[in-house]
Symmetry: C2
Subunit: 404 residues, 2 copies
């Protein structure tokens, strides 16, 4: 299931980026499961990675290579996460980089590996190596190449996810293209499952890194399907530097806005395609004494199985939202100052049900696919927005059957 309609956008060419994909038979036959992204010389590349302590072998290798050289290739497989695979996993991730070196002549550590899929199975390196020549042979820079790449990184996703933005930098138009995957094990911490964003803007690496870090904090790090942070999260941002230079405050602000637009769009597409999702829920927490406090409250509500099942049932069971807010460990919490609204319907005020509330009004909102829950804490000026999905029978079915 998935919430609402989306279509893959028409993606413009980003000069300096080409993408190729192949059906390598990694887990299933006749499935696009291998993607190669080629980055022309002279680019800047920034990345954020999972903070899960059991991070996957490709994450360890990608982080190491990114610290050493500016990447020229990214190689991404689905069907196998190469996580929980110990020393053998590291050898396998490096073997994929070596294979790219053999085929293209770039240094081995100018290749970043990424994997997604089942945890704990040995990576089928041979299948990947056999698939790579095909992926390199069909490299392209048009919208079809982007869409095939978006398809080649999916796991339990039911839709490809892409987003485009442009902004004016010193009179020149700059473009950002992004693709992502993710549907379950989604509670990104520093990045999401996998997202690849490219721009033709000319941005120095250190600036690119800080822009990515900030934008990820407002997008991928504000979504959750099931509270389970993946072992393989990675979000990469490539600036090919073929276009306008981003350096002054105004240019940075314009680029930041466009980057936020792409990352938030991709993050929301992941939630709309969350495992078993029937609802797309926006949690807006305001009047918090810090952004962290606002995030803590928002995630406590977003992770509550009772809130999520009530959302699935389209039941305006505001008592469960109130109970979740109350257990969020806010210090010296005066609940009499809290208000909770469902879109424009006031649910809770002064520690209990709002006088104006009617079940009819609440039920009318809950019947929608897109729902906004607003929680004002009455404690300060900070705010945060988190996006989540509901907990449905399909979530249980998908995850009770995933390996079989």
């Amino acid at each position: 299931m998935a919430v609402g309609q989306t279509s893959f956008p028409d993606m413009p060419v980003i000069e300096g980026i080409r993408l190729g994909s192949a059906k390598a038979g990694i887990k299933k036959p006749d499935r696009r499961d291998l993607v190669v992204i080629e980055i022309a010389e002279g680019a800047s590349v920034a990345g954020t990675f999972t903070r899960n302590a059991f991070c996957a072998a490709p994450v360890l290798v990608a982080r190491e290579h990114l610290a050493e050289k500016t990447p020229r290739y990214m190689v991404i497989n689905t069907g196998n996460a190469n996580a929980g695979t110990g020393e053998q996993g590291l050898r396998d991730a490096r073997a994929c980089c070596m294979a790219i070196r053999e085929l293209t002549g770039v240094p081995y550590d100018a290749v970043l590996p990424f994997s997604t899929g089942v945890i704990g199975e040995p990576l089928p390196v041979n299948s990947i190596c056999f698939g790579l020549p095909d992926a390199l042979a069909n490299m392209g820079d048009d919208s079809v190449a982007w869409q095939q790449a978006a398809e080649g990184i999916l796991t339990t996703d039911t839709r490809t996810k892409g987003a485009v933005a442009t902004c004016e930098i010193g009179g020149q138009s700059v473009t950002l293209n992004g693709i992502a995957k993710g549907s379950g094990m989604i509670r990104p911490d520093m990045a999401t499952m996998l997202a690849f964003v490219a721009t033709d803007a000319a941005i120095e690496r250190s600036l690119l890194e800080s822009l990515l870090r900030e934008s990820v904090a407002r997008s991928f790090n504000c979504i959750t399907v099931d509270s389970d942070t993946s072992t393989n999260d990675a979000c990469m941002l490539i600036a090919t530097r073929r276009g306008a230079a981003v350096a002054g405050d105004d240019e940075i602000a314009a680029f930041r806005e466009a980057l936020d637009k792409v990352l938030i769009d991709l993050a929301q597409q992941i939630i709309r395609d969350g495992e078993g999702a029937t609802k797309f829920v926006t949690l807006e927490v305001s009047q918090a004494s810090s952004r962290q406090e606002a995030l803590d409250v928002a995630f406590t509500v977003a992770h509550s199985p009772l809130v999520k099942t009530a959302l699935y049932a389209s039941d305006a069971n505001w008592g469960r939202i109130l109970a979740a807010v109350g257990r969020a460990r806010v210090e010296d919490f005066d609940v009499a100052r809290v208000t909770i609204d469902l879109d424009d319907v006031r649910l809770v005020e002064q520690g209990g049900r709002a006088e104006s509330y009617t079940e009819e009004a609440g039920s009318a909102i809950m019947a929608r696919e897109d729902i906004v829950i607003r929680i004002a804490l009455g404690r300060g000026e900070s705010a945060a927005t988190v996006w989540t999905s509901d907990l449905s029978h399909d979530y249980v079915t998908i995850n009770a059957d995933y390996r079989s």
Copy 2:
């Protein structure tokens, strides 16, 4: 659903305790939904209550009254939690205490009110007041009275929950009886949904309080069904002081052991009857650098929807356990030192799947109803044990339908 077989134990008389119950029609007709516990003069009473900031009106009133007087009556209703009910809720909880005063002559603040059920509906005070004479008229101290009281506090529970222990204190036998309810919204924080334990031992109040606090930390605070801490949690311990005195170190140790036995038994019964539960899972975390660290890891695994759905599917998907351990925010975590065992089958060592592991061995354990997962962190000497259930279709069904 519920895990394994249980039967309500034969409960001995605790001198100084009588229990009565009635069918007051609070939410459903012909359902035992009102319980009164009478405590003879001279008892000591200790209580622990939820730390949910939106705590229910009866919790606020009970805490207030307990600070003022030694209670003579507890009045408990199911079918309505009287939580999220603001000022009206406080007036309603006090009205129940006033009704007991009218009927028995004890001071109004010698009565403690407790409620459990749906959050946010006004308490039907009239139904409760009409039912109280009936409950007072059928007071008894035998096993039937205890079992009817255990029945009269249930909500979505499918079973009554009772536990008995005895211990020798200075050559005299001392008895503890306990009853509890709870099935969903179970992640107790300072106490569980509702538990009432009585003993004939003679124990001073301050000692009783510290014994209760410590034992709750090892029992009710170590269980979780769905991570949702209730607004109404309360655990009460009554010492009627008709029996042997508990004062010296040896007597305290003997009593502590018996109290642990009752509370852990009740806590485990709640998990076995967890909403939709098909598995009873024990998480033993050892070699942690602190007890809190061990608890953090255990609860992260216990709350993971992906681990819980794998348990439901009887799928030895150890990668999900590993991913949950890895996101538990343990500082400077060397995952190469972690081992994870499923009963006596080693799953994970040196950052990946154990060499000796076979799917057959893992699947054989996962097929059981009772499963032990052992996680050794390789960091220190501290340990913690947490009990939890799985996440099944029935959990979603129960909570998507609860209000209808």
